[in-house]
Symmetry: C2
Subunit: 154 residues, 2 copies
């Protein structure tokens, strides 16, 4: 019988499980309380000031129903702000706060360290091969999840 461990789906789950654990450990050791999901959202808000929630969700491939809670928590921690848009009264414009900027800056070494640790079993070449193959598989499957990656509008 085919072992679970030979299935790409199982390996995907396991790698993600380790990646999250490593991220939380490194960031926690650095004295911060931020999840991988919250970090990606905050970094993307900083890089795209004033973007709305749907655009943010598209840029990091989150479901729109998930992003609501993520932003709730960023706002509650004082790292981001959510205000009504005047162009489109359905939309919310997102901004990073000074506190959010400070947190991002201070947390960066821990985040980079985490990325290294989750690849620590691989050589540099193997690591970049893995990234390239994941990229390629993800690009081909982008439309298969409810929350595909979307480029920002010009």
């Amino acid at each position: 019988m085919k072992d679970n461990n030979d299935m790409p789906g199982h390996l995907a789950r396991r790698f993600q499980q380790i990646a999250v654990a490593v991220f939380l450990a490194e960031v926690g050791d650095a004295g911060f309380d931020l999840t991988p999901v919250q970090y990606a959202a905050l970094a993307t808000i900083k890089a795209n000031p004033g973007l709305d929630q749907v655009t943010l969700a598209g840029l990091i491939a989150y479901d729109r129903t998930t992003i609501t809670g993520v932003i709730d928590r960023l706002v509650q921690k004082g790292l981001a702000e959510r205000r009504a848009s005047r162009r489109d009264r359905r939309a919310r414009e997102l901004e990073i706060t000074d506190e959010g900027r400070r947190t991002l800056r201070k947390i960066t070494p821990a985040v980079e360290s985490a990325q290294r640790i989750m690849l620590r079993g691989l050589s540099a070449k193997e690591g970049s091969d893995l990234m390239r193959l994941l990229h390629k598989a993800i690009a081909a499957g982008n439309e298969l999840s409810r929350a595909p990656l979307r480029q920002a509008q010009a």
Copy 2:
């Protein structure tokens, strides 16, 4: 600034996200209502009759607090049984039911199809390379998550 999409952690999350979506779509189209997590648990119970929950958790790298709910749902669907062990009154022995066996058999083509689809952007060689590299990274990081993979006792 470094893009989220260049971080292994983000790629891990995205690949897993697509893998789950593909699995649910294929299995759903085949007329079954089983998650990837439930499938792996059921297949492992079938392969190791009478095992206890902690052993099952170790074999598929689930947290022991997660497995409780997963088994609850397998039992509720009539696919598995949970009964008290006589050797150790703390433990529960798990068995697959006939219904569970039938379901596993009928669901297998959809599961295999899902594994192919999530690698559809890759050549055969690229697919096996990806699996090998994931394996290696996971092996090196096994102890970093709260729910590491464990071999069954002899």
